[in-house]
Symmetry: C2
Subunit: 415 residues, 2 copies
Amino acid sequence: MSVIDLHTDPGCAVPPAPPAPEPDAGLSLAGWTGDVRPSVIQRMLSFSGRADLVTFALGLPAPELFPVDGLARAAERVLRGDAQALQYKPGFHPLKEQVVAIMAQRGVRCRPEQVLLTTAAQQALSLLARVLLEPGGTVLCEQLVYMGFKQVIESYRPRILAVGTDLRTGMDVDAVQRHLEAGERPAFIYCVTDGHNPLGCSLSPGKRRRLVELAARHRVPVVEDDAYGMLHYERPDPPLRALDDRWVLYVGSFSKVLAPSFRLGWIVAPRELVPVLGCAKDGADLDMASFSQRVASEYLASGGFPEHLARVRMEYQRRRDLMLGLIRAELPAGTRFSTPRNGALIWVELPARYDTDALLETAMQAGVAYVPGAAFAVPGSTAGRSAMRLNFSYCAPPQIREGMARLGRVLRETG
Amino acid sequence: MSVIDLHTDPGCAVPPAPPAPEPDAGLSLAGWTGDVRPSVIQRMLSFSGRADLVTFALGLPAPELFPVDGLARAAERVLRGDAQALQYKPGFHPLKEQVVAIMAQRGVRCRPEQVLLTTAAQQALSLLARVLLEPGGTVLCEQLVYMGFKQVIESYRPRILAVGTDLRTGMDVDAVQRHLEAGERPAFIYCVTDGHNPLGCSLSPGKRRRLVELAARHRVPVVEDDAYGMLHYERPDPPLRALDDRWVLYVGSFSKVLAPSFRLGWIVAPRELVPVLGCAKDGADLDMASFSQRVASEYLASGGFPEHLARVRMEYQRRRDLMLGLIRAELPAGTRFSTPRNGALIWVELPARYDTDALLETAMQAGVAYVPGAAFAVPGSTAGRSAMRLNFSYCAPPQIREGMARLGRVLRETG
């Protein structure tokens, strides 16, 4: 799951925030649209075209690692081999079976009929909210969450029960327990178990067991967002779905390990829920096999994926280690940060005198970009003011060195 | 816009309706899910695998007309030429410019900044509902509508103002006027101006002008679904969007003219609304360039599209004329039907003694499939009971002859 879209506060200085959308004065829109702020992704990406800017801002994969040859061969075989790949067809069953095999490698047992293929993880989250959440309903999540998740729930104008997160052990499960024992029954609990976005942490094994137990005892589903789960750099712990096949609704994605523009993800859910999710998908964009489902399936069948994934993991681990070393070397004393076992993101908490939102303009002028921590705070939370999220997957090592040196200079000069 | 998904009444006999989904007894779902019935597409498609079945049921393009070579070359060029085609990127601007050129051929003037690229027309409808419709809000549409549109609005549990349709001149605009003059202010009016799904009719030029005038006067937007618009067989009339660039929100699609599995469509809206729709798309599946956006753009740039489209139009016109002749020759006296100027669908109203839903099982046994008219009726309407929707784009002429002969036999034997 990438931070492809940042809803920053209107106060975010650089790139300059445009005014809130002003729809045609005559057009009467649904109330929730009054709260939306336009995405800054276009501006972030236009900045990333600046040759001298090093950007740690977006959760982008390294483009030089895309398996271009394998995908080109797969596309060719699909198109030349079967014109039905261009037709309306049910979600592609062989890809569901391949997802089952991938899940087994994550330690999860499931069957194809428990899998719904989605237009990437973002749609998976959107469909789960659609079938679980009533307008004005309640959601339990962390104070700092994936920005795309905020976009999923905002049109429901939900009541949010926000809990804290420990950078080493993950979500505050004690706080979850207190809410549930006080009688709260949220529509679901949102949890990024591994490779947390934005925090870069993983839930400890003990907390995994407790969270699943609480979910089952209080009959509250957990939406487990595992978009970064396959990118693990230490011995991986199985996701929550490996511990419970009834209360855990699992979200996976090919975006980080194959190609974001294929827009391919999946849900693993109780079998009975899959047709309901399929109806929600029909309403959203039709539950059918896309061209990219076919190409991805052909690519997976060719056998090159395990090697590709191993190569990506090895390279990202190298970049992670490099960035962690440079955080220690370049950033101010008193800085705290996560040490990600998975994913592509490091959370950096600077000493409290820093305001990372106010600082972003200076940093961009110095040639380095990050996402200010406050951008991830749920409505009503002031978390993240002195923090930033750094991505380590996109930039090659020399750029990481240069960018961290620039960031260090900016922080020394403004601290 | 295809009828890829049919929500039939539970009483629909064939293919046998499965029970309503039974989600895990413990899982508490949003209320709207209690109304959904599982899609019958998988069963319809599995029947269509039966070699001896002629299916007029689904709105599928003819697979033998897909421009496979051109698309394969485009995919190759995109993948070999630019690894960024696999990356997170903003919606692909060159494709927006190509959409502007296509719109000009439909008689619509617009600019790239008024275009939002979507995951096909289904998502376009879904996003427009998202930004226009409040839960429990009001929608004005016809009694017989595209089934995917019913799926778009069902989770809002809307109040529906349903108006009739004339098979020659389209939507009953007098009824629209009565609703608006009585003070109704629906969130929007849904209109398939050309190649109506399921009715196969087009709105008359006079009604186009009146509908747009009513929308502007009463400040109610029209969502114009033009998924079949480019498939015209007579001199086309410009869509509503050509008459009003403020109150008409236009939906277009590449599904019928390029390839459904590319999942590519677009919205043309007032410029101010595009960022709001973009935020809604971010929440749904991220507003970014998909691989298929890149491939389609490359294909369009190669120059082969006008010729391809002309070829498709010519062949579909031939099939339309064939089917219209066979309706006259084979179906019972007293049968009424539409003569489509656009699209891929013919609406057939049999004499009132027929119940097409009850008859479907017999027809399938005789080796021919259609969609019973009642499947398109909005909740509360009993329209379509003696009607069926026939598709003429998918089957080659010999199949059309055979299927219509079978259908004629079934109707003679059961009438």
